[in-house]
Homo-oligomer: 556 residues x 2
């Protein structure tokens, strides 16, 4: 257990996720002997993280200071803010604070991971304040693409921090109130030491359209579609689902919900009063077959082209319950998250091949971002007038551009600090600085059942296997004489073979020659490296490929 | 050699690429006993084509009819239209026709592949007509993101075909004339049987900006940048490079060209008069170090985030000649091709990390598409007034939307036919129809030195290897007695191991148990499948992973 608490009026930010990358948002604040954690998300792996299921924050720095951690405070219920908790909580048992819907979604996860009994959950409402060590955390109502989202105001001995959470300024939200800008303005009047603000949409000029505009786009599509309507969106976007349900109801369509996560989220949201529709609007899987096409709306997951999602399987004609009909209308109510474009486009192509008409976000009003554009970001900066500014929630270019934006509205250049995960930032009466300490904040993978830190050797091997496959050379040698009693036999997988019968025969002969140069009493590692190097060279010369070569020598 | 020539007034389209996908454009026209080929491109592999270098068209249908093929006619010099030729020409030796710059770029390729001596190349100029069997092919000047691009008018016994090539309607091109719409209008007056038209930008409303607007965007950036300017773009976009060179010259910067393909293309374009700049403007690698930052512009490849390209290596700090300086300005003058977004964004993030300011296409006027938007597509349709319409050059959703657009401007619904590669379309006096014949037009891969047809087993293996790695079980058995004399030994690669010492020990014991249930005189395939199935189950239960399991039994 390390104890490196700072002076009580010295504040440290320890970003463990969400800076310089998308997703996996997590930040620790440290002051004196107290640590509080804001959010704990997960991200989906990038292309080159072969075989990885999920990527979560690295909490080794926190584990070394577990006794100082007073709790985890949540801004809202999206995966990239709460999805890491099932992996964090078993190792770091601290209370978790969040609003009703946020904890509602979290409870579903904790139940699946059998953590519900052992986790201390505290429900808060906007306006509430909770004291965690020397931190007083206040939740302030915000608007985002999920209800019950909040900004945080954190009073510390060093001064007041405002954390925007994920937000846009939606003056006409689908449910609930507009964001509580008045509260933030009052905090700004009192003086803000530090603003941490969402950088996702800093490349977008102007302001982000209200969620309500999507309802205006959906209504005529639902009303005018000649056949069925299929709408895919995020399972957590309850406001979007409310608008789809409204649009269906308005034109006499019943709703069939497809996708486990969507069903579960809608149930939670209904129980908590965030989603309202008559029970009679919904049809069961059995009933839906009897509903005429023009009277049915299917709401499903898969808006990101996720491999096993409902929409992808429907588009491929492989869904057990839903087959597309010629003339069906498909609405994809989401923008592709960077990296998912190809998968989404492939899905759309397949939908067209099956005779559907597709409306997706680029040209139709069927999606609105949940994140603030440049004018809104400027507004938050000018309302709070922070002494220091650290951009959060975005890839590094977003953080850089947000830093530049802050300078353009008058935050002094030396008080703006875009940083990567793991860079510790310190603020006190003397100013803001990087401490130089590098905290372990690299990628941590969930791969199958285990949680692993990044292991470059494994990924390098997988990369090579993916690229050119593997060739195994099996050889049995008599220990006493060094004579080859069986083999060499060559077995390959994932190596494009073409006219490989003769190539393999040659490779086998080549291996024999290599072996004839090895002394009979040589160690087996000598045998192995002779085969490895000789065969690699031979195959590269003949095929320009570099399969992974595994010589396996058995001594008997 | 098959001879299935059609009636002389019956026209067949055999799309071998570019329909329902991006890139690899190639189409055969067949009439009577004559076949003519339009373009022959290549595409870069999609994510799941693990280990593939390039994807080219499948020409097996053409090879069966080689004696009927009268030639290959080219619309312009982009990779996705000429890049397949070095792989096609060795197997199909026919004359190739194209404009000067198109053949200039092609000659570079043929030289590299040692095909220049054996290929018959015919240079044409816009307005020229060449007769290939029963086809008269006329090249019509068009505008695109490469000079010397053409549309084609093909007179056939069945009627006149117009092929748009890749185009936009640029009334103020950077060099050369606006597109020859007058010629297309006259052809329209004479009567067009079939229009084939570029679908790339059918999702874009309005018209595509002129290439000249990019020059207007570049000039102030080049003039105002405090340090060096680095500009990345396609090596083939000669008009873009001309404008960059102009912008550099106007503000007193010298140009350093980085990237082999860009250097080669610029040299060809200069020789042919498509690029003009004083020789003194350029600096050599050696000289560039002596040029003050504010007087240097670096033009380089890598605008798509290609792994080994100049820009990517510069952004990673790994380029042998160019190191970024704090305050350098980087212009990325291209949009990411679908699928490249992540790579481009990673590059931009790295550039920001090194203190550069990045201008990319989304918010700055540093790029203009080379493809026609909806209003231009409608204009071509109304100028040519075709009896039949087949959309080309796009993913399937583009083809569908382009078909819909054609119907909206009055082409009868039953005369519009979006099709996938390999679907043979027939047109005669009775109408347009799919013949029902499916031509082999799947993916053909260049993988290392060999050209292979899609082999699903190899890709499935690579996928599994990439996902969870490989575990090899080696076992030596005495043939006469069935006794295990060595092993089982387990070797793994790419399998995340974690606490795997004990796991592997258990797996080994489990394998022993499995083997004890196999009769000693059993065939080795029985041994193998016992190990394979038993161990797969064991490992999945324990790790939720499915590595490729290879049991290798050696009998001595």
């Amino acid at each position: 257990m390390t104890s490196d608490g700072t002076a009580p009026d010295r504040l440290r930010l320890i970003p463990l996720g969400g800076l310089g990358e998308i997703g996996r948002n997590m930040m620790a604040l440290s002051c004196g002997d107290d640590i509080v954690i804001i959010d704990s998300g997960l991200m989906f792996p990038e292309q080159e993280m072969l075989g990885v299921d999920l990527v979560i924050p690295d909490i080794s720095w926190l584990l070394e200071r577990a006794a100082q951690v007073r709790g985890i405070v949540l801004t809202h219920g999206h995966e990239d803010h709460i999805g890491g908790l099932p992996y964090v909580l078993p190792r770091l048992q601290v209370p978790v604070y969040g609003t009703a819907l946020t904890l509602g979604f979290l409870r579903n996860k904790l139940r699946e991971h059998r953590l519900i009994e052992t986790t201390e959950l505290h429900t808060v409402r906007p306006g509430d304040t909770r004291t965690l060590g020397c931190f007083d955390v206040e939740w302030v109502h915000a608007t985002h693409s999920i209800p019950d989202a909040c900004a945080l105001v954190v009073r510390t001995p060093a001064g007041v921090i405002v954390h925007s959470g994920d937000f846009k300024i939606d003056s006409t939200p689908v449910q609930g109130e507009p964001p509580d800008l008045a509260r933030l303005a009052r905090i700004g009047d009192e003086g803000v030491l530090l603003l941490l603000s969402d950088s996702t949409n800093v490349e977008q000029e102007g302001t982000t359209p209200s969620e309500r505009t999507v309802g205006e786009g959906l209504a005529p599509l639902f009303a005018g579609a000649p056949g069925r309507i299929l709408m895919a969106t995020f399972a957590s976007n309850i406001s979007r689902l409310q608008q789809a349900v409204n649009a269906a109801q308005a034109c006499g369509r019943r709703c069939f919900i497809v996708g486990r996560s969507m069903l579960k989220n809608m149930r939670v949201a209904e129980e908590l009063g965030y989603l309202r529709a008559p029970e009679s609007l919904y049809v069961t899987p059995k009933e839906h077959e009897g509903v005429p096409d023009a009277e049915l709306a299917i709401l499903c997951t898969g808006a990101q082209g996720e491999p096993l999602s409902a929409l992808v399987r429907i588009a491929a004609g492989e869904h057990p319950m839903v087959q597309l009909h010629e003339g069906d209308t498909v609405v994809i109510s989401a923008n592709p998250i960077p990296g998912n474009e190809e998968a989404v486009h492939r899905t759309i192509n397949n939908l067209y091949r099956r005779g559907a008409r597709v409306f997706n976000s680029s040209r139709h009003r069927v999606h609105a971002s949940g994140h603030a554009s440049r004018e809104e970001l400027k507004l938050l900066l000018t309302l709070t007038r922070p002494r220091y500014f650290v951009p959060v929630h975005g890839e590094y270019r977003h953080l850089s551009l947000h830093a530049e934006l802050a300078r353009s509205v008058g935050v002094a250049a030396d008080r703006v600090m875009p940083v990567d995960n793991g860079t510790v930032v310190e603020i006190d009466a003397d100013g803001i600085r990087r401490t130089g300490e590098r905290v372990s904040a690299g990628y941590v993978y969930v791969d199958g059942l285990s949680i692993e830190e990044a292991d470059d050797v494994v990924f390098r091997d997988r990369q090579q296997l993916a690229q050119d496959g593997v060739i195994i050379v099996v050889l049995t040698v008599e220990r006493s004489t060094g004579a080859v009693v069986a083999g060499p036999d060559l077995v390959s997988r994932g190596f494009i073979e073409g006219d490989s019968g003769s190539l393999f025969e040659e490779a086998r002969e080549h291996t024999m020659q290599l072996l004839s140069r090895v002394a009979p009493d040589a160690d087996w590692t000598v045998w192995q490296s002779a085969i490895h190097e000789g065969l690699s060279r031979f195959l590269y010369r003949r095929t320009r490929r570099r399969p992974l070569i595994l010589p396996l020598v058995t001594e008997i």
